[in-house]
Symmetry: C2
């Protein structure tokens, strides 16, 4: 009844063996699959194999940014918490999340919009190069607007909000950008997907 | 193209309307469904409607514990980060996570077992009454062992680890406990599921 495998490295190895066997043939490049299998590992959901989309420059641009010490902005604290500090440390980058900042909360309240929108407006004033959105479609829509209006020009947008209101539309809108992106079409996504993507990219960048 | 609804309360209201319409008739009690719909909201995955299981005393026992200021132990920091501090504040409880503690890391290394196991052993020495496991099956198996050996007697175990190695088995083992539990059978689960359950319970406890 108790677990047969308790060595953490062997657990991961065995998980990837199962995932690769169940995925079978796929259309991802080698680097893309390194990321895709970590998304499946984090969610136990093979639907992501069908829904993940990579801008052709996404992995290279993301790795280059990480290697040059770029900062990452997350829409929610769970992503900030989940991104590997050990993985980030050798490059010198940091992860920021502004959603609980007092000025963000105040402006959201006064404008009657989401804190997620206001946190992206705040992020746009920094030198952040990678954005990871795993929760709020409104954050992703705001990022798209900021890109389209030439306010920001990120190295990578990881846009995987989850949900029933605007999530699908926000990710379809992301497909139209020239900015490097990674996304998962449909309603599904979430913080573990965003974290798995960024942490996989950190491993690739090493 | 841009979102039609940007008022956060209206987004949530519309999400629940969609979820309830798509779920249709179900076998949950009213209180259980308050929790189940938040799990679907967090994951956009209706499979949880089929896999969620509630010990008959789980909600009452969990609410009572929260109201009396019980502390919560999380297996990973993402859960600690996601549990609503605003929701917890009126009751006086706190959320702890020991997985990155130096003594936990050291003992995991020396024993060749997961940090998750060692973090649960550390938690068992505290007065924590609620355990939220969203990541590591080994943490849940260790909790079950600690309960069976009479070392701990939690008010509630939220056991929803995700994955391909031991996750299914750990959740099936949880079903055999007399200790109040909430779980989601199968491979799926994860930190957003654990966070959605605890935050829904915090709302019910108010």
């Amino acid at each position: 009844m108790f677990p047969k495998i308790i060595d953490p490295e062997k657990i991961e190895e065995e998980s990837f063996r199962i995932i690769e066997a169940e995925v079978g043939p796929h259309a991802f490049s080698d680097l893309e699959f390194q990321i895709a299998r970590r998304v499946v590992h984090a969610t136990a959901d093979f639907e992501f194999i069908k829904t993940l989309r990579f801008h052709p420059d996404a992995i290279t641009s993301g790795m280059d940014a990480l290697r040059s010490g770029a900062s990452i902005v997350a829409d929610v604290e769970m992503i900030q918490s989940g991104i590997s500090k050990v993985g980030l440390k050798p490059f010198g980058g940091a992860v920021h999340c502004y959603i609980s900042d007092e000025d963000v909360i105040a402006s959201a309240k006064s404008l009657g919009i989401t804190r997620a929108i206001c946190s992206m407006r705040k992020a746009a004033k920094t030198d952040a190069a990678i954005y990871a959105v795993g929760n709020a479609p409104t954050a992703l829509f705001e990022l798209i607007r900021l890109v389209q209006e030439g306010v920001i020009s990120p190295a990578l947008i990881v846009g995987v909000p989850v949900g029933f209101v605007s999530a699908v539309e926000s990710k379809e809108a992301l497909l139209g950008l020239k900015t490097p992106f990674m996304t998962a079409l449909g309603r599904k996504g979430g913080t573990p997907v965003a974290v798995a993507i960024v942490n996989a990219l950190l491993r690739l960048a090493r």
